[in-house]
Structure formats: C-alpha cells, structure tokens
Symmetry: C2
Subunit: 321 residues, 2 copies
DNA sequence: CACGGCTCTCGACAAAAGTCAAACTAGGAT
DNA sequence: ATCCTAGTTTGACTTTTGTCGAGAGCCGTG
C-alpha cells in the first residue's frame, strides 16, 4: 500500500527466493545486502501477503463424514476438523481450518460480510495475510458500545487488514433502547446504505451464538440473563449477527430483534457463499436452528459436532426433495 | 489423485507445519514418525501442490512502464520482467514470471487452452504444482509427428500434470499435405469436438513465433526454409498456435494455413483471458502482428521488449478510440 | 548542534531444515 | 522358501535459516 522505499526490496527478495528458488545468501549478494536482512525481508513478505503460503483444505472435505453431512444438510461444502486424532492445539484447530477455508473462498473483487463474536475474532486473529486487491469487508451488524473485546468493528477491521482490503464499518450501536429509535436510525442514509449494501456481498463469515446466560449477547450487555431467559421461553434458539433466531432459523418476533441494527436474515440469505464456523459443542441447538433456516451454505465444524449432526439427521431425516 | 496410503500423512504433516506453524520435530512427534520423514513429506506436499507458495506479481504490473503499455496497447494487464536490473538467470526470468502470472489467473473450474513452443514448454517446466480441481487443459493445435521436443501434447500434458488437472489431447497432425485431407480431418467428430470446445475456454496460454529460417515451425519440419521465405514474401509476420498470421494479426491466406489443424483465430479471440508470453527480442515484429490482431489480453515481456513496444507505440500511436 | 528516539542493517550464534547412505519393509517373481 | 526390487524410514551429518543485540544512519526537537 504505502510506497515505502523498502517495499520494492522486500518484493525483489521474495521474488528471487520464492519464485526463482535462490538461497538467502544468493539473494543477499544479488541485492547487495546482508543475509540477515534478506531473512527479515522474507518474514515481512510473508506477513504482508506478498508471498502466500496456503495448504489445501481438501483433506477435510474429502472426509467421508463431511460428504455425508453435505448431502444430509444440503450444503455446498462441509469441512470437519479432526479434533482428537492428532492434537496440536485443539481449541484453535477449528479456527485455523476456518481461516484457510475462508482464504480459499475469497477472490479478487469480492465483497465480504463479517459478523462478530469470539469465533470470528479468533479466525481473524490467526488468519494469515494476503494481498487481495479490490476486496471490501463490510460489517454485518451494529457495534457494541461496551468495552468488550471481539467487537464487530474489530472483527471487520482486522480481517480487512489481513487481506489488505478496504474495511467498511458501521457506526451504530447493535441494540437500541426503543424500537422507534432503531427504526429512525435504520432510516438514516449512512446506515441504510450500509444495510442495503449487504446483499451485494458474495461471501459472508459468521458463527452462531447460544441463547443461555453465557451467551455472547448477554456477556456484552445487549441483554441481561433474565431477558434472555424470557426470550428462550418464547422460542429463542440461537443468535446470528446479533439477532435472535427461533428453531426454524427465522428472526424471532420480539422487541429485542426490532431494536437491533443488523443485517436482515433475508439479505444475508441472498449472499452467495455463507461460511458458518462453529467451535463449541454447546452450540448444537443454535446450529440446528441456523441450518434449518438455510442461513449458511458452507460449514466448518469439529468432528464431534459433525457426528452429532449426522446422528440427528439420521434420526430425523429431512424430507427428501 | 491416487489414494496412496501416505497421501493422508503428507496432508496431515503439511497441515500441522504450514497451517498450525509447528516445527518439523513437533510434527514428527505428533505423527510418531522421524523428523527426516516429515521433511520428506513436506517436500512432497509442495511438489504435489497440497501446499501452495506463491509470490504476488504485483510489482511487475505496478511498474510505470507496464501501466503505460496497458494503456498504449489497450490490454487488460501487462507484466514486465526486469531482465537487467538484477540477474538471477536472465533466460528463465520471463518464464518464471509468466508461470506465476499464469497460476494467478487460473481458477477452479477453468478450461485452459494451451499452445506450444519452447516458451510455453519452459513455462510448464518451471511452473510449480497446484492442486486445482475441475480444471481442464486443452490442446490448441495439432501435434507434430516429428520427434521434436516441446510438442503440443507435451505442453498440454505437462501443464495439466502440474495443475492436477485433466488434459485433453488432440490426436491429429499439426499440418497435412493436402487441403482436402485437412478439411476431412477437421470434419471428423473427435477433432471437430475438440476444435469446437476451444471457444469454451476462459484462459489461454501461448507465445508467438517468428517467420524466419529459425522459426519453430521450420525447425520442426512443418515448413522448409524456402516455403517460409515464400510466405514471408506474401506477408507472413508471425506464428500463433501453428498458424501463420500477417501484420494485421489475421490468418494469412495461404495453402499452409488451410492445411493446418489448429484453433481458429476467431475462436481464440472469444477466450476471455489470453496470456501471451514473449521471451526473445527477435520476436518484436511477430509480437506487433499479434497485438494488432487483438490476439491477447494479458502480456508478459522483458524490459527491453517493453521499451521497444512503448517507443513504437509512441512513434506510431494507435488511433484514439 | 547535541540529544533521544526511531528504523534499518549487520555479524555471530543458535535453531531448524535438508540430505544421504544404510537399514528396513513388503510384495512379486523364481 | 529365497531372492530381488522398489519404496519407506531413520539417525547422523551438513547446510541453510532465524534471531538477537550492537552499531549506524536519520530525523525532528529542545
């Protein structure tokens, strides 16, 4: 981006090393700098996405279970993280896979919608850098005023930064105190445009939240535990981009949802590729709800969750089309 | 492709090493094998395209001269290989760049037309491996019976092999002795289908040949030096996919062209992205002819050639649109 | 103009990765 | 059963790469 004087050098070093296959000392003498500098340039090249090292995620879709799930759930693609077979760091395992899958799905010129949450932020955090041009990352839902980490704008910005893309933020609170105010705010040109632009996305990244007292929306103060319990009483089954959904995967008819500034599920569904990533086993019910609502087309889950989904689909199979 | 038992292991090792960032010894203990084996698996992973290491070719299009050429020649993109600035191996320089550019242009599901020649073969030869699915590489022109290297089918197959793609060969001679026979052969279902399928390609890779005694088509015996001289007399300016073109970039009206089995220039032009690569400075005139005929949309050349093109465009500027 | 603060660069050392020949394995042929 | 070949696997060795702290250049500031 910036025309730093070294940018040129980094690029040349990366080119000689990775494309031509020279050794670092050969590159060093070629460019008349020390080998140590070359090593440093190469690190920078990797960090800025001038060179891209990606591993195929084939193995995780080729899996028999993944194929079965694709069929059972009628999804475009499913990736299953092994979890227990070999254990590098179980917790980040799904996130690493999700990040790779995400980078595989992104193309030049894409417009990407990004939701928020711990999962999304973790993915952003471990995602490697890429040098995509003409990519725009848009925030799918309003912000949280609270100084809570994993804020929607953070997720959006971080992913934009990693991709060397433009980040389109969204300066509205996630939830307002009255429905009138929310309506008025949604009608504001800046906000309206942003919301309208969501259906122009061709890729979305999000997770699904639980509806218990541990839920993200509760922890960040958008709802208190009692309110959440009440919502659960009237059918809340999960959280998508800050909105409560019922077991059918439709927005729950409740005051909270009407006070939220976020991508409508309808416009979300118009996005071509919707990548949903689920890390915790506790998100089984919310995941079922999201799947029922056809909210995602691409899914990344752990092996255990995959098994549960498969068992569930086997026990109560979808009506054949 | 083959379901070798080790494939799984290679993939796991690559995943732990490249995606999770473990060290080789950590991967080794994780998988209960020796570190030496891990090193070997990783090499295989790179060789088979399970991991992809690519360097951005930005630098070479961002170049001022490249931008000027894009404007002057009305091309979608131009890449210029430095050549003299820093010299790793001048001769392969353009080929390495071309291979990178090519890999950047290929996408899943593509259908790729490949011509032949030393340039194309060199590119195929140094191109790194990738694991693309659903890619088909089709041969753009008939084969040469002679035991000459860089045969059309070799170029096609080699590139298909590198991409892990399907190669569609073309079992007809490049040139026949009579026009009648050529016509009859073109009407054969197998051949006709292959020729018809060329317009379905969305990416083509080719170079342009000279029309002197050193020309590829002469060296491989399709034409003898005298015939070539005669063709030059009636306006031959270059060779594209085995066909003679005139200075306007149209197929020259001659017996030879009518005896050739190859992609028609018309169907070639329907291909969305046509990457032309020119290595030798001696190909200036042929290149001009090809450019005049709008035969390519993407161009990779060396710095010296780029300068000549720019000078030429400046001296005799195209009519503004 | 001297002073931090800053980034960039380098030499030297430590760590990691690549390589090779020898040992081992498995399958097929005799 | 025995030999042979082709392909893996490994430990030991060499080469290549990563890293760190020291030093050099550069700029704005007091």
């Amino acid at each position: 981006m910036a025309i730093r004087p070294a940018e040129q050098l980094i690029h040349k070093a990366a080119w000689l090393y990775y494309a031509h296959g020279l050794r670092q000392d050969q590159v060093a003498s070629q460019l008349n700098i020390s080998r140590a500098s070359v090593a440093m340039y190469l690190r920078k090249a990797r960090e800025t996405g001038i060179v891209n090292i990606s591993t195929s995620t084939q193995l995780f879709t080729d899996d028999v279970m993944a194929r079965k799930l694709e069929d059972a759930l009628k999804l475009d693609a499913v990736w299953i993280a092994p979890e227990n077979g070999y254990i590098p760091d179980p917790s980040t395992d799904i996130a690493v896979l999700a990040a790779s899958v995400f980078l595989e799905l992104v193309k030049k010129g894409d417009r990407i919608g990004v939701a928020w949450g711990r999962t999304v932020y973790t993915i952003a955090d471990i995602m490697s850098y890429a040098d995509l041009q003409d990519v725009t990352v848009v925030q799918l839902c309003g912000n949280l005023g609270a100084p809570y980490s994993y804020r929607p704008d953070q997720c959006t910005m971080e992913i934009a930064r990693r991709l060397n893309a433009k980040g389109l933020n969204f300066y509205a609170p996630l939830v307002l105190s009255t429905e009138d105010l929310a309506r008025a705010l949604r009608a504001e040109p800046v906000i309206r445009e942003q919301l309208a632009g969501i259906s122009d996305c061709n890729l979305a990244l999000f997770s699904v939240g639980t509806v218990d007292a541990d839920s993200h929306v509760v922890k960040c103060g958008a709802l208190n535990p009692d309110e959440m319990a009440a919502l659960r009483g009237i059918g809340a089954a999960g959280v998508i981009a800050g909105q409560i959904i019922d077991a059918r995967g439709e927005a729950l008819d409740c005051s909270y949802n009407r006070r939220v500034i976020s991508a409508e599920l309808g416009s979300l569904r118009t996005i071509e590729k919707r990548l949903m990533v689920v890390q915790e086993d506790s998100k089984f019910e919310p995941l079922l709800a999201a799947l029922a609502g056809g909210l995602c087309t691409h899914l990344v889950v752990g092996a255990h969750m995959a098994q549960r989904l498969l068992d569930h689909a086997g026990a109560a199979p979808q009506k054949a089309s």
